[in-house]
Symmetry: C2
Subunit: 399 residues, 2 copies
Amino acid sequence: MKKIFLLGVAFIWVTGSYAQQALFNSGNITSPVIHDNNIVTFKLYAPEAGKVEIQGDFLPSIKIKTSFGEMDGPGKAELTKGENDIWEYTTPTPLSSELYSYSFILDGQKINDPNNVYLVRDVASVTNIFIIGEGIADNYKVQDVPHGNVAKIWYSSPTLGFEQRRMTIYTPPGYDDNNNEYPVLYLLHGSGGDENAWMELGRASQILDNLIAQGKTKPMIVVMPNGNAPQQAAPGEAPNSMIKPTMTQPNTLDASFEKAFPDIMKYVESHYRTINNKQNRAIAGLSMGGFHTIYISALYPDKFDYAGLFSTALIQPSEGKNANAYDNFKQKLDEQFSNPPQLYWIGIGSTDFLYEDHTKYLKLLDSKGYKYEYMETDGGHIWRNWRIYLTEFSQKLFK
Amino acid sequence: MKKIFLLGVAFIWVTGSYAQQALFNSGNITSPVIHDNNIVTFKLYAPEAGKVEIQGDFLPSIKIKTSFGEMDGPGKAELTKGENDIWEYTTPTPLSSELYSYSFILDGQKINDPNNVYLVRDVASVTNIFIIGEGIADNYKVQDVPHGNVAKIWYSSPTLGFEQRRMTIYTPPGYDDNNNEYPVLYLLHGSGGDENAWMELGRASQILDNLIAQGKTKPMIVVMPNGNAPQQAAPGEAPNSMIKPTMTQPNTLDASFEKAFPDIMKYVESHYRTINNKQNRAIAGLSMGGFHTIYISALYPDKFDYAGLFSTALIQPSEGKNANAYDNFKQKLDEQFSNPPQLYWIGIGSTDFLYEDHTKYLKLLDSKGYKYEYMETDGGHIWRNWRIYLTEFSQKLFK
């Protein structure tokens, strides 16, 4: 046994000696520590630091001035230097159930917690995450329930001129061991996102696994394509794309994605055991993906019986060679609601900068007498809300 | 158009305000910058720092004292503070083609480059990566070639007592659009790794895509299971596993993984279009995975015509209820070589701490007259070598 233990140590030193840094130089500490009462302690070994802060969305939010007025941003707190050059911060009260993000700020410099390997990327920013259970976020955790498989697949989109574009596909537990046909949810990301966003930031596979296990959500295939028309795949996953990601993707609001959407459906329906009718297709998206959802569900009114608009970017479409697809939108909406979808679902946060646009859109729907379901949550244009909306929306599908 | 641009800005401020940090507080800089001549510049916005260093495996290695004697570790260099509080380091000469790892050291504290979102995790350590092309690492890049799909799937392992264990499966380009049957390479990770390691650190799908496109490697299915017998999945991907990963996994050298290996093969051969004979099965692994490869290929001598031993942990097996599978190893080796594999391939780095053990193992094989192919590379027990070995080994399979 001794020899094997020694081998373990040797590996730590040898594999680039980075592991050595993490395990020894950092004082071999654990951070965060989630105590039994859901109080959380964060630790950082920083012998030379003059000041260490933590910035996270579990702290009381602070106001940030923007060109849109004041907005909520993650709060800050200071860590205290203790023994062995380890700085600590403990939350004064238990945290409620949620998936939280945080970073340390070391003498003014934002850094990741070197003792927490669970990181998510949002556009060009990488932050640490942790999950507090015993509430809503139990559905964001990997639980001891049957799991669906997740594949990154490449499909052909002749409409966009790409032989290969990437998408993420979740198949429900049991899919590979039965011959059932399944309904499909097309789930779209926002501006700055990609085909990985709903899995990494949105915890889509965990949410689906858990709700299906609880019998609350019907087993379904979830298709998460890349909604940035000029992209083949997420940053780093397409040729020459291993560069710093940016928020603004050209041409994603010019109807090219909407026009090319049948390429995605064609692939899915020819490669998976799908039920190919309106009653068994849903589409939903956040922000730009909500924009795409409005137009795709209206452009193909006989295709989707369920539409989910999550914090939708209700803005003037861009121009471009395909933009005529946006013409006469109200007429298209009339057509869509002449044989209305089973569910037209709208979610928005009460402090979202798009809140007023939503009020106007609801008025439009009301004036026409079009039925919809509406959910208003706290907070703004954040993933916390989109995970809630997926949790709510997915339970209403295909029933 | 103006309205859409404004929306982009709003998003940056609103989504947790983290993106704002990365894009504005950091001076909106790009790092690393790979110049046309493969000289590389690294930049960090750090107004309050007294000293900024870079530690990376592209710098002349430094000696680290360990209980095994001196070993090579990544070198260090200092950044210079320039205008606008931006620190810089430029390599004095062009870098040769490779996938490199690095971190910054800010006043003694290891941090990730906040302007580089491409990160890899090795056990409990996360570092930035970048790729220099025009050489061997062109095969590690995503190129404009047909891509295979990659799935994270759950299989049942009754032998290990898990209803669900996770593995990564690469299917070659075209697999989903033809009816061909394919050979299979089982590709195993090392101690501290998991079913994600070969994809993330090993660039397995890129290497396979590129070599298949060049006609150098035959299209094949690559199966990357989790070799830690007590684990269901990678850290964070199994229940209650979102904790700090450790190097030492109990019971992974006690033959339980080897004994349970038929569960993996059974799933693969019943769910994929595989060619189910010895001539069309290969197995390879690094370090602990090389150890597993030796024993699995010897325990099931009629199953694998190709065995790849990459920097193999040639150590005394652990004890345990299954350890009798290791008994009479030389006799099992005799049996394996009585109908010898097409290829018994061994790769080792000249400064690997396992080098001397390899010399002994080669002597054993020589003394028996067993044929093998041997490749010796520079360097030690590092992913740089394992990517090279996969590149070499995969070209020799199923021909």
